[in-house]
């Protein structure tokens, strides 16, 4: 799980309450822009992309989302993990007209595809594992990493 751990460490951890996914994207984009992870177009692109190609997925009965956009708008590789105090609705990737309640969002900051390849495979393995059920209780990035390291 090395590559996944590395990308999480290079990313951010966010826990809180958001009105809806637009509110979440606005707040997170602002944070990422201020810390030089993304360009100022990131918010627009990630919102647009979510409308056309939604990223909500239901895995083991937990709603997650994996928002991301073109590498063109990303300056630094990483994964921002967001745990929502109250579920936020996202459209489903495999059934775009359907909405699901999402508790955890992994905002993928993909500057280089190659860097994310193994990490993404590891993320999917982790999401499908039993440890994933505990992720919702994480209070910090360290908690997340402890769960992944197992």
């Amino acid at each position: 799980m090395e590559e996944l751990i590395s990308l999480i460490e290079s990313g951010k951890f966010v826990k809180g309450s958001f009105k809806d996914k637009e509110d979440f994207f606005k707040i997170v984009s602002d944070k990422l822009f201020r810390e030089d992870y993304v360009s100022e177009k990131f918010l627009e692109k990630i919102l647009d992309r979510e409308i056309v190609y939604p990223t909500g997925l239901k895995i083991n009965n937990i709603g997650i989302s994996i928002p991301h956009c073109d590498s063109e708008y990303i300056y630094k590789n990483g994964i921002l993990i967001a745990i929502f105090d109250n579920p936020i609705q996202f459209n489903r990737m495999d059934a775009p007209e359907e909405l699901i309640d999402v508790n955890i969002s992994f905002v993928l900051l993909i500057k280089d595809k190659e860097t994310h390849l193994l990490a993404l495979q590891q993320l999917i393995i982790f999401i499908q594992s039993q440890q994933f059920d505990n992720l919702i209780k994480a209070e910090s990035q360290e908690d997340v990493l402890k769960l992944i390291r197992g």
Binding site: Y53, H68, Q121
Partner: protein, 92 residues
Amino acid sequence: MKTIIIACGAGVATSTVITSYVTQLLRDNNIEHRIIQCSLNEVRMHIDKGDLLVTSMPLKEKYDIPTVLGISFLTGVEVSKTMEDIVSYLGN
């Protein structure tokens, strides 16, 4: 040599995961292959070269080649069925 087009929204994240599972599946089944990984709106550019299309989400467009939904590789739901479909479409 079979050509598989693997597509997702941005052609970056989901298709990357699907590609890694499909590649493994085809190796395990000794099916010689090459993969074209792209975004969903690039599919029509490559469609003539493909024997099979695997996508992250349902498509509105209908193409002449068989299409399989590859999302099960991410969700873990009905993976065996997806793998069987892929192998059977490419088998002949």
